[in-house]
C-alpha cells in the first residue's frame, strides 16, 4: 500500500507524469490497434449473421463495448475527482477532465451506433428505450462537466467545481437509470430492448471480449494523451517544460 502511494506521488508530479505518459501512450495505442483489428475482423467476417436481424447486428461489437466504457470511464473519472477534491493533486484534476472528454466520446459512439442499429431493426432512428434514454442523460452529464470546467477562468477552481459535479453525477447516474426504467413501465407500448432477449452464444462472444479489451487500451492511451497535453499546456512557464521544448527542436 505504501509503495503504491509513493509511486502515485512521484508519478503525479508534472515532469514525471510527462515521462510516464510519453512512454506508455504508444504501448496502449499499439495494443488497442491490434485488438481492434482482431475484433473487427472477427465481428465482421468470422462470426455468422443473426437469423432475425441480419448483418446489422454486427454493430453490437462497437455499441456494447462503447456503452460499457461510457459507464466505466465515469467511475474512473469519479475516483480521480474524489482524489482531486480531497488531496488537491494537480494531475488528478487534469485526469478528471481528460476522462470527461473520453467518456463523452464513448457515450456519443454508443448513442450513434444505437441509433444506426435501431433504424433497420425497428424502423426509427431514435427510441425512448430506457437504456438509450439513460445514455442520453449521461451525455448531458458529461457535457455539463466539460461545460462547467470551460466556463470558469481559474483552472484550479474550474477543476474543483467540475470534480464536485462529477461526484454529484456519480450518485445521479443510477438514480436516473432507475427512474427511466420505471417510466418505461408506465407506457403500454412495445418494450424495445437494444440487446435482444437471446443470450449470446459463445461463438459470438469472443469478438466482443476482444473489442472490450480494445476499448480499454484505447481509453488508457487517449486519457494519457489528453492529460499529457493539458499537463504541458498548464506548466508551459516552468523551467522543465521549457527545457523539454528546447530539446525537441
Amino acid at each position: 500500500m505504501k509503495a503504491l502511494i509513493i509511486w502515485f506521488n512521484t508519478t503525479g508530479s508534472p515532469p514525471n507524469f510527462e515521462r510516464y505518459a510519453a512512454r506508455w501512450i504508444p504501448i496502449w495505442f499499439v495494443l488497442a490497434f491490434v485488438c481492434l483489428l482482431i475484433g473487427t475482423a472477427g465481428g465482421l467476417f468470422m462470426v455468422p449473421a443473426d437469423s432475425k436481424q441480419g448483418e446489422i447486428f454486427r454493430i453490437i461489437y462497437i455499441h456494447v463495448p462503447a456503452a460499457w466504457m461510457s459507464l466505466f470511464v465515469f467511475i474512473v473519472m469519479a475516483a480521480q475527482a474524489f482524489i482531486a477534491l480531497v488531496w488537491r493533486i494537480k494531475i488528478c484534476e487534469i485526469l478528471t477532465i481528460a476522462c470527461a472528454h473520453i467518456g463523452l466520446m464513448f457515450t456519443a459512439v454508443t448513442l450513434i451506433t444505437g441509433s444506426i442499429w435501431g433504424k433497420p431493426t425497428w424502423g426509427a432512428w431514435w427510441t425512448w428505450d430506457p437504456r438509450l434514454t439513460s445514455e442520453l442523460v449521461l451525455l448531458f452529464i458529461y457535457l455539463g462537466i466539460i461545460g462547467l470546467y470551460n466556463a470558469i477562468e481559474d483552472r484550479r477552481s474550474a477543476a474543483r467545481a467540475a470534480a464536485f459535479l462529477v461526484l454529484i453525477g456519480l450518485i445521479n447516474v443510477p438514480i436516473v437509470h432507475f427512474s427511466v426504467t420505471w417510466w418505461n413501465t408506465l407506457h403500454q407500448g412495445e418494450t424495445i430492448r437494444i440487446v435482444g432477449e437471446s443470450k449470446m452464444a459463445t461463438e459470438l462472444m469472443w469478438p466482443l471480449i476482444v473489442m472490450t479489451l480494445a476499448t480499454k487500451f484505447w481509453f488508457l492511451g487517449s486519457v494519457l494523451q489528453r492529460a499529457r497535453t493539458m499537463n504541458l499546456a498548464h506548466e508551459a512557464n516552468k523551467d522543465w517544460a521549457k527545457k523539454l521544448a528546447e530539446s525537441k527542436q
Binding site: A161, F164, V180, W182, W183
Partner: protein, 228 residues
C-alpha cells in the same frame, strides 16, 4: 467556532432578510407565475385546443412549465448576494454557511415556486385536467418542487461566479431533474392509468428528506469552491 446565538435565531435572521428582499422585489414573485402561464399558453397554441388532447398531456405540461420556471428563477438565487458582496460576508461570518443557505433556499421556494403550486388548480383548468387527478398532481408538486429548489440550489452554487450562466445552469441541472420529473409527473400518469401512484411519491419524499439534510451542506461547499 460556535455562535452564541442558536441555530434557530440565525436561520430566522436569514429568513427575515430574504423574505424582506423578495417582498421588495415584486418581480421575483410575479415573473415565475407569468412564465408558467406563458409556457402553458404557448404549448396550447402550438398543439391543439381540444380538451381531450390537452387533458392527456396536462400533468406533463404543468410539471414542465413549473420546472422551467423554477430553473429560471434559480439562476438568480445567489446572484445579487454575489454581486453586492453579501455572499462574501456570509462566508466570513462565524455562522454555518449551510444554515444560511438552507434559509435562502426555503425563502426562494416560498416566494418563487410555491405560488405556482398554489395556482396549479388554475393551470389544471386551463388544460382540462380531470378533477380526480388534481390531488395526485398537487401532492406530487408539493413534494417535488422543494426537491427542485434544493437540488437546483446546489447547481447554482457551482456556477455562482460565472457570467451569463443561465444556459449552463440549465444544462447542469437537467440530468438531476430527470428523476424528479419522471417520478413527479409519472405519479400523475400512473394515477390516470389506475396504477398505484403513491410509490412514486414516497420515492420523491425520501429524496426530499435526504436533500433537506444534504443539499444546504453541498451548496455551501460548492459556494466555497466557486468563490475561492
Amino acid at each position: 467556532m460556535t455562535s452564541n446565538q442558536g441555530a434557530l435565531s440565525l436561520f430566522a435572521a436569514q429568513c427575515r432578510r430574504d423574505l424582506r428582499l423578495s417582498l421588495r422585489r415584486r418581480g421575483d414573485i410575479a415573473q415565475p407565475i407569468l412564465f408558467a402561464i406563458m409556457v402553458i399558453t404557448l404549448f396550447t397554441l402550438a398543439t391543439s385546443a381540444e380538451p381531450k388532447k390537452l387533458a392527456e398531456l396536462a400533468p406533463g405540461i404543468i410539471w414542465v412549465a413549473i420546472l422551467l420556471s423554477s430553473l429560471l428563477s434559480l439562476d438568480a438565487i445567489y446572484r445579487s448576494d454575489f454581486e453586492d458582496g453579501s455572499l462574501e460576508q456570509m462566508l466570513m461570518s462565524p455562522a454555518p454557511l449551510a444554515l444560511l443557505i438552507g434559509a435562502r433556499i426555503l425563502v426562494h421556494w416560498l416566494s418563487a415556486v410555491m405560488p405556482l403550486v398554489v395556482l396549479t388548480p388554475l393551470f389544471a383548468q386551463m388544460l382540462f385536467l380531470p378533477s380526480d387527478l388534481l390531488a395526485p398532481l398537487m401532492i406530487s408538486l408539493l413534494v417535488g418542487t422543494p426537491l427542485i429548489s434544493l437540488v437546483g440550489a446546489v447547481i447554482a452554487a457551482l456556477t455562482v461566479g460565472i457570467r451569463h450562466s443561465g444556459m449552463l445552469l440549465a444544462l447542469l441541472a437537467l440530468p438531476l431533474y430527470v428523476p424528479i420529473l419522471v417520478f413527479g409527473a409519472g405519479a400523475v400518469v400512473a394515477a390516470s392509468q389506475g396504477f398505484a401512484w403513491l410509490g412514486a411519491i414516497s420515492l420523491l419524499g425520501a429524496g426530499l428528506v435526504i436533500a433537506i439534510v444534504l443539499a444546504p451542506v453541498a451548496a455551501a461547499a460548492a459556494i466555497k469552491i466557486s468563490l475561492t
